[in-house]
C-alpha cells in the first residue's frame, strides 16, 4: 500500500490519467442504468417456500390486478353506471388488459324458472334507487363480491382490472398513464375515483426515487462540504473527498449499467452513501499529510510519511468497512444482495480512487492553502489532548458509571423492539398513492393476500361434504379473527350454486355428496380453477387482507396454522403460502441476516485488534466502543417504538462497519505511538492529538451525511439515516471516552515492546536457542516468558533450588559454579555465559533441583523461559518444539565440548577456544 501511494505521488499525471480513462469508460454505461421496482425483489432468493408458491401460482393462477376504486353515497344510479360501463369497455380495449371483473361481469348465480342463470349483476341497469339497493343486497351475499368488489356499506365499488400475463415492470408507466387517462372522467361522476395497483405503486416509488436523487444529492454534497470546511479549512482537502466520491459514483453507476442491477428503493441510496462514507479515508490521509507539513516536512517528505503511516491503516479500515457493506450482500433477499454488491463495489472503487487521487493531488497541489490553517490546529493539539486526557482520567469513575447506566437503560429497552416491516412505508406519508392504497385496505378487502392450500392426493376429495365442511370451518375461523375481510374458496362457489338451484335466501353448502355431484354437472371448472384442481384433490382458500404489519400478520398466520394443526382431518395436508407469507419470511431473513452481520463485523474487528496487539483482551476492549452504539441504537429503537425493519436493521450493520474505522484508526495510531514511546499515557495523548481531528472530522461528515437521509420520504430510508447518524455519534463519543479509559487499564506494553529494538534485532536472532525459527515463532515464545533484572553479584539460583526455568542472557554476564569444589575460592566455575547464551536448561529438562549456583557478574537482564512454556510448545506447536529442542540439544552438546575442553586445560576454567569455536560456527545448530 505504501508503495502504491508513493507511486501515485511520483507519477501524478499517470494516476490522474488512469482515473480519467476509467471514469470515461464507466460514463458510457450510465445511460443503461434503470430505475426499476420489482414486486419480488424483496423476496428470499432460492427460497423453497417461494418455489412452492410459484407451483401453487402456476396451478391456481396468479393475477396481476389493478383496482378501479369508486366511492359515492349512491353507487347504483343509472347515469353513473352507464358512464362506468362505457369506461370499463374502453379499458377492456387496452392491449395490456386481459379482462375486467366487476358487477358488470361477475356472474350472479340464480335460478330463473328453475334454470340456472349466470347473468352478471349489472347486465340490466337498475331502473331506480330501490332496485339498485336490492341489487346491492344480492351482490353482498356473494363472497366473491363482498369486500372484493363492493364494500359492506355499499358505498365503495371496485373493478378488478386483470392485466395480461406478459405485462411486467417495464410497462408500469404506460399502464398507469393509460388507465389514469380513461378513469379521469369518472371523477366528475363519483366522489372518489382512482385506479391503484402494483404498477401504480411501483411508478410512484420510481418517481419518488428520481425526485429524491435530485433533492438529496445536493444536500449530501453540501453537508459533506460544510463539515469539511468547518473542520479542515483547506481547499484541496475539501475538494479531494468530493472528487473521489464523484469518481466512485460514476464507476459504480457504470457497473450498474453494465450488470443490469437497477436503481430501486434500497440501491438508490448507494450514490449518496458513497459521498458520505467515501470521504473518511481521504480525511485521514489528508490529515496525516497536513500534520507532517505542520511539522515542517517538505511536500515529498510529508507524502512519504503519509504513505508510511497511513498505508496499512487505510487498507485495514477499508477492509472493515468493505466487510460491513459486503455483509449485506450475504443476504438472500435480492434487493439487499444488490445493495450489498453495489455498495461494497462502490466502496472498493472509492478506496482505489482515494489511494490514487489523494497522493497524486497532494503531489501536484499539496502546497495550495485556502488560509493555511485550521481552527483546530491553532490550539496545539498536543496540549489539548493532554488536558482532555487529564480531565477524562480524573472523572473516569463518574464517566464509567454514566456509561454503565446508559448501557443498562439501553439494554432494558432492547426487548421492547418489535420486528415489523411495513411495505406501505415505502411510500411517502403524504403520497396520493399511499392514501389510495390505504383506502383500498380500509374500505375493501385490501391488496395483500395469502393462500391456504389443502391437499389429499386422492381424486375427488373435495367433492365430499365432509372435507368441504372442513374448508368452510377454516374460513369461518379466519373470519372470526377479524383480520381478513374476505376468504374465498371452492366451497363458496358451490354454496352459491346450491343457493341458486335450491332457491335459498343465502349461500348454503350442499348437505350430501350426492347433491354435490349433481351440482357439479352445472359447474364449469374454468370458473373455479383458481380455487380447486381439476381432479379435486387440491384446494386453495384465498385470504385477502389489509394487515400491513408483519408482526400482526405473523401472529395471524401462526393462529391459522395452529388451527389447522389441531383441527384438520388427518387425511389432509395444509400449507400456508402466498405473497404475504413470502414477505414474512423475507423480513425475518433480512433482519436475522443483518443482525448476524453486526455480530460478524464485531468479531472480525476483535480479531484484527487482537492480532495487532497479540492480546485477545485488547480486541475485546476495543470492541466496547462499537458494541455500545449498537446497544444504544437498539435501546433507542425499543423505547421510541421504532421497529426493526429493512432500513433499521441495515443501519446497525452499515453504521458499525463504518464506526469501527475510527476505533481502528485510533488503535493503530496508539499501537504505533506505543512502539515509539513505550509509555502508555504518552502514547494515548499522542493518539488523541493525532487522531482527534480526523476522527472528529470524519464522524461529523458522516453524521451530517446520514442526517441527509432523514429528508427522504421513504420511511425505512429516513430511519436508516437517523439511526446511522445516532450510531456514528455514539461511536465517536465512545471512541474518545471508552477507548482511552479501557486501554489505559490494560498492560499493553508487552515484553516484546519492552525489549529494545537493538536487543530484538541483534541478540535474539543470534541466540542459539532461536536459530532457524521464524520471527513470529520467536515473538510467540518470548511473549510467553518474563524478564528478570539482576544486580552485579546477585545470585540467580542456588544449589537445591527448584528448576522451573532456563535463562537467556539478554545483556550482562553470568557465572555458573559448583560451590565448594575449587581449591582457591571453594567454588568450581563451570562456565560463564554472555549475551545470547542459554543456561540453567539441563536441570529444567532433567527435572532435578539445581546443583550449581548462578550469579550475575555485572548488571544483567535475563529472559526466563518457564518449563510450562516448553511443555505448551510440545503440546500445541510440535514443529516449533522440535526446532527448539534441536537447538537445545546442540547447545548442551557444545557446552559439553567446552566442559571437556576445560578439563583438558584446567588452567583456564572456561575453554574459550571451544566457546569461540561454537560461536564461529564450528559448534552450533544449522542456521
Amino acid at each position: 500500500m505504501q508503495r502504491l501511494l508513493m507511486f501515485c505521488a511520483r507519477y501524478p499525471w499517470h494516476a490522474l490519467g488512469f482515473l480519467l480513462l476509467v471514469s470515461l469508460a464507466a460514463a458510457t454505461q450510465l445511460r443503461h442504468v434503470q430505475i426499476q421496482i420489482a414486486t419480488d425483489e424483496l423476496l428470499v432468493i432460492d427460497d423453497p417456500e417461494r418455489a412452492y408458491y410459484e407451483r401453487v401460482s402456476r396451478q391456481f393462477g396468479e393475477e396481476n390486478i389493478v383496482i378501479l376504486y369508486l366511492e359515492d353515497e349512491v353507487l347504483m344510479e343509472p347515469e353513473r353506471l352507464e358512464v362506468l360501463r362505457q369506461t370499463l369497455e374502453q379499458i377492456e380495449q387496452l392491449d395490456f388488459v386481459d379482462r375486467i371483473e366487476s358487477l358488470f361481469s361477475v356472474p350472479w348465480l340464480k335460478s330463473v324458472d328453475g334454470y340456472l342463470n349466470k347473468d352478471p349483476y349489472l347486465k340490466q341497469l337498475p331502473k331506480d334507487a330501490a332496485e339498485g339497493k336490492r341489487l346491492l343486497a344480492q351482490a353482498l351475499q356473494n363472497p366473491f363480491v363482498r369486500h372484493v368488489l363492493l364494500s359492506a356499506d355499499g358505498r365503495v365499488m371496485g373493478a378488478a382490472i386483470v392485466l395480461r400475463d406478459d405485462v411486467n415492470g417495464e410497462d408500469d408507466l404506460r399502464v398507469t398513464r393509460a388507465l389514469e387517462r380513461l378513469v379521469a372522467p369518472l371523477r366528475a361522476h363519483y366522489q372518489r375515483a382512482f385506479v391503484i395497483g402494483y404498477p401504480h405503486v411501483r411508478t410512484a416509488i420510481a418517481q419518488q426515487i428520481r425526485q429524491e436523487q435530485a433533492e438529496l444529492f445536493p444536500w449530501a454534497v453540501g453537508a459533506l462540504l460544510l463539515a469539511l470546511f468547518l473542520l479542515l479549512r483547506q481547499l484541496v482537502d475539501i475538494l479531494a473527498p468530493v472528487l473521489t466520491a464523484a469518481i466512485s459514483i460514476v464507476w459504480t453507476l457504470g457497473v450498474m449499467g453494465l450488470s443490469g442491477i437497477p436503481l430501486n428503493v434500497v440501491t438508490s441510496i448507494v450514490p449518496i452513501l458513497l459521498i458520505i462514507v467515501g470521504s473518511t479515508e481521504d480525511i485521514h490521509l489528508l490529515s496525516e499529510f497536513r500534520h507532517a507539513q505542520r511539522e515542517g516536512l517538505s511536500r515529498e517528505a510529508a507524502l512519504e510519511r503519509m504513505a508510511a503511516r497511513m498505508g496499512r491503516t487505510v487498507l485495514l479500515t477499508f477492509v472493515t468497512t468493505y466487510a460491513g457493506f459486503f455483509s449485506v450482500a450475504l443476504s438472500r433477499i435480492e434487493v439487499l444482495w444488490q445493495f450489498g454488491i453495489l455498495a461494497s463495489t462502490g466502496l472498493l472503487f472509492n478506496f482505489v480512487a482515494t489511494v490514487v487521487l489523494i497522493p497524486a493531488l497532494l503531489s501536484l497541489a499539496g502546497h495550495w492553502q485556502l488560509d493555511g490553517r485550521s481552527r483546530f490546529v491553532q490550539h496545539r493539539p498536543g496540549r489539548l489532548a493532554r488536558r482532555y486526557w487529564e480531565l477524562l482520567h480524573r472523572a473516569r469513575w463518574g464517566i464509567l458509571a454514566v456509561l454503565l447506566g446508559v448501557s443498562l437503560i439501553a439494554a432494558l429497552g432492547v426487548p421492547r423492539i418489535e420486528v415489523d416491516h411495513s411495505t406501505i412505508d415505502s411510500l411517502a406519508r403524504d403520497s396520493e398513492v399511499r392514501r389510495q392504497v390505504e383506502a383500498v385496505n380500509d374500505r375493501l378487502a385490501g391488496l395483500e393476500n395469502f393462500s391456504i392450500v389443502l391437499e389429499s392426493g386422492i381424486e375427488d376429495t373435495f367433492l365430499k361434504v365432509r372435507y368441504l365442511e372442513q374448508v368452510a370451518a377454516i374460513q369461518a375461523f379466519i373470519e372470526q379473527q377479524g383480520l381478513a375481510r374476505s376468504t374465498t374458496s371452492f366451497t363458496d362457489y358451490l354454496s352459491m350454486l346450491n343457493m341458486a338451484f335450491q332457491e335459498l335466501d343465502r349461500p348454503s353448502l350442499p348437505g350430501s355428496d350426492d347433491v354435490v355431484d349433481e351440482l357439479m354437472i352445472f359447474l364449469d371448472h374454468r370458473h373455479v380453477q383458481a380455487y380447486v384442481s381439476d381432479d379435486y384433490s387440491r384446494l386453495r382458500i384465498l385470504v385477502r387482507h389489509s394487515v400491513d404489519s408483519t408482526v400482526a400478520l405473523q401472529a395471524f398466520v401462526d393462529r391459522v396454522q395452529a388451527y389447522l394443526d389441531e383441527h384438520l382431518d388427518a387425511g389432509l395436508k395444509a400449507r400456508i403460502t402466498g405473497s404475504s407469507v413470502l414477505t414474512l419470511r423475507a423480513t425475518e431473513s433480512m433482519i436475522r441476516g443483518q443482525l448476524e452481520s453486526v455480530v460478524l463485523l464485531l468479531l472480525c474487528f476483535v480479531l484484527i485488534i487482537s492480532v495487532l496487539f497479540t492480546d485477545l483482551r485488547v480486541g475485546l476492549i476495543a470492541a466496547l466502543p462499537n458494541a455500545l452504539p449498537v446497544l444504544v441504537l437498539f435501546g433507542v429503537m425499543g423505547y421510541a417504538g421504532i421497529p426493526l425493519n429493512i432500513g433499521t436493521a441495515m443501519a446497525a450493520a452499515i453504521a458499525i462497519g463504518i464506526a469501527v474505522d475510527d476505533t481502528l484508526h485510533f488503535m493503530l495510531r496508539y499501537n504505533r505511538e506505543l512502539r515509539s514511546s513505550r509509555h502508555q499515557i504518552a502514547a494515548m495523548q499522542a493518539t488523541l492529538a493525532g487522531e482527534g481531528l480526523p476522527v472528529i472530522s470524519t464522524s461529523v461528515a458522516l453524521i451530517a451525511g446520514f442526517l441527509v437521509f432523514t429528508l427522504s420520504d421513504f420511511q425505512p430510508i429516513m430511519l436508516f439515516g437517523a439511526l446511522s447518524a445516532l450510531v456514528i455519534a455514539t461511536a465517536l463519543l465512545a471512541d474518545f471516552v471508552i477507548t482511552p479509559l479501557a486501554i489505559s487499564s490494560l498492560r499493553l506494553v508487552n515484553l516484546w515492546d519492552l525489549l529494545s529494538a537493538q536487543l530484538r534485532r541483534e541478540v535474539i536472532p543470534q541466540s542459539v536457542l532461536f536459530r532457524g525459527m521464524r520471527p513470529w515463532q520467536i515473538r510467540r515464545f518470548i511473549l510467553a516468558s518474563t524478564l528478570g533484572e539482576y544486580r552485579q553479584g546477585e545470585v540467580i539460583f542456588e544449589p537445591g533450588d527448584e528448576s522451573d526455568a532456563m535463562f537467556l542472557v539478554m545483556c550482562g554476564a553470568v557465572e555458573v559454579a559448583v560451590p565448594g569444589r575449587s581449591r582457591e575460592s571453594g567454588d568450581l566455575v563451570v562456565s560463564r555465559f554472555g549475551v545470547g547464551e542459554l543456561f540453567g536448561d539441563v536441570a529444567v529438562l532433567a527435572r532435578k533441583r539445581r546443583k550449581t549456583r548462578a550469579r550475575a557478574l555485572e548488571p544483567t537482564t535475563l529472559l526466563l523461559l518457564g518449563r510450562d512454556s516448553l511443555y505448551n510448545a510440545v503440546q500445541y506447536h510440535p514443529l516449533l518444539a522440535s526446532r527448539l529442542f534441536y537447538n537445545l540439544a546442540v547447545d548442551v552438546s557444545c557446552r559439553w565440548i567446552r566442559f571437556i575442553g576445560s578439563i583438558q586445560s584446567p588452567a583456564d576454567p572456561r575453554v574459550r577456544g571451544s566457546g569461540q569455536e561454537a560461536e564461529d560456527g564450528h559448534c552450533g545448530p544449522d542456521r
Partner: protein, 254 residues
C-alpha cells in the same frame, strides 16, 4: 313388481331408440338444463370420455342414439365421478326425449293444456295424501314420482297461524312452504322460503299412453337441503274439464 316393470320399460325404450330418434323430429321438443352452464336449452353439446384415451362430443338430443350406444359399451367406466353423473344426465335426457317421442300424435281430447300448471292449486294435483307404506295404495307407474312424498314431511307439521287454503298454490312454478290436512280432507298451507318444496321446470304435452286424451308431463325438481337436483317426472291427465288431475293409466315413464 315395480322394478320388473321399470326394467322392461327401459329395455323397450332402449330397443326403440333408433326409431324414436327418427320420430323425434316431429315430437314436441323438450327443454333441458345445459351441462356446465345450467341454462335452459332445447339442445346442448357435451364432451364425454368414451374410452381410455378417447373423448367424444355429443349433441343432445339429436345424437342420443350414438350416446346410448357409447353408454351401453361402458363408456362411463372411463369417466371420473362428475362425468359419470353427466353420463347419467345425458341418458336421462335421452330417455325423456324418447318417452315424449313415443307419444301418439293428435290426441282427440285436450283437458290439460288450458290449465296453468305454473300456478296450479295443490288440491288439483294427485298428492295421494293417505298413501304410505302401510296404506295399501296402488303402486305408481314406474318412473312417476309421488308428489305427496316430496311434501310428506310438511303434512305432519301442525303449527302455522297464517295457514290458509289459498296459500296451497304453486306460484310461478314454485311451491315452498308447509301443508296441513284436516280431518275433513281439507288442506291449508303457508309459505316459507326455508321449507322443502318443489319447482316445476317444464311442462310438456303429449298423449303418452295413447288413450286419446292429451296428457301434461310435468318435470319438477324437489327443493330442500338434501334433495338432489334431478328432474322428476309427473304425468297428469284428466278426462273432464275442471276435474282434479290424475296419473294416466298404463304408463311407463323412463
Amino acid at each position: 313388481m315395480r322394478r320388473r316393470i321399470r326394467e322392461r320399460a327401459s329395455l323397450a325404450l332402449m330397443g326403440l331408440l333408433p326409431l324414436i330418434a327418427a320420430l323425434a323430429r316431429s315430437a314436441p321438443s323438450p327443454v333441458f338444463s345445459a351441462p356446465y352452464s345450467g341454462e335452459r336449452a332445447t339442445e346442448y353439446e357435451v364432451e364425454l370420455a368414451t374410452g381410455p384415451h378417447a373423448r367424444r362430443s355429443f349433441r343432445i338430443p339429436s345424437e342420443c342414439p350414438a350416446a346410448h350406444q357409447a353408454f351401453r359399451a361402458g363408456a362411463q367406466q372411463w369417466c371420473n365421478r362428475v362425468e359419470r353423473r353427466l353420463w347419467a344426465k345425458v341418458m336421462q335426457d335421452c330417455y325423456y326425449t324418447a318417452f315424449l317421442a313415443r307419444a301418439r300424435p293428435g290426441a282427440q281430447h285436450d283437458f290439460v293444456s288450458g290449465y296453468d300448471f305454473m300456478n296450479a292449486r295443490l288440491g288439483d294435483l294427485p298428492l295421494r295424501r293417505h298413501c304410505g307404506l302401510d296404506k295399501g295404495c296402488e303402486p305408481l307407474p314406474p318412473g312417476v314420482i309421488d308428489l305427496g312424498q316430496i311434501l310428506a314431511r310438511v303434512t305432519t307439521r301442525e303449527e302455522g297461524e297464517h295457514a290458509t287454503p289459498e296459500a296451497c298454490q304453486v306460484e310461478h312454478g314454485r311451491f315452498r312452504g308447509w301443508v296441513r290436512f284436516d280431518s275433513q280432507g281439507g288442506m291449508v298451507c303457508w309459505s316459507d322460503p326455508r321449507a322443502n318444496g318443489f319447482r316445476i321446470i317444464a311442462v310438456d304435452y303429449a298423449d303418452v299412453n295413447g288413450d286419446g286424451y292429451l296428457d301434461a308431463i310435468l318435470r319438477l325438481i324437489p327443493l330442500g337441503r338434501d334433495y338432489r337436483r334431478v328432474p322428476l317426472i309427473l304425468p297428469l291427465t284428466r278426462k273432464q274439464p275442471d276435474a282434479p288431475f290424475s296419473l294416466p293409466d298404463r304408463l311407463a315413464v323412463p
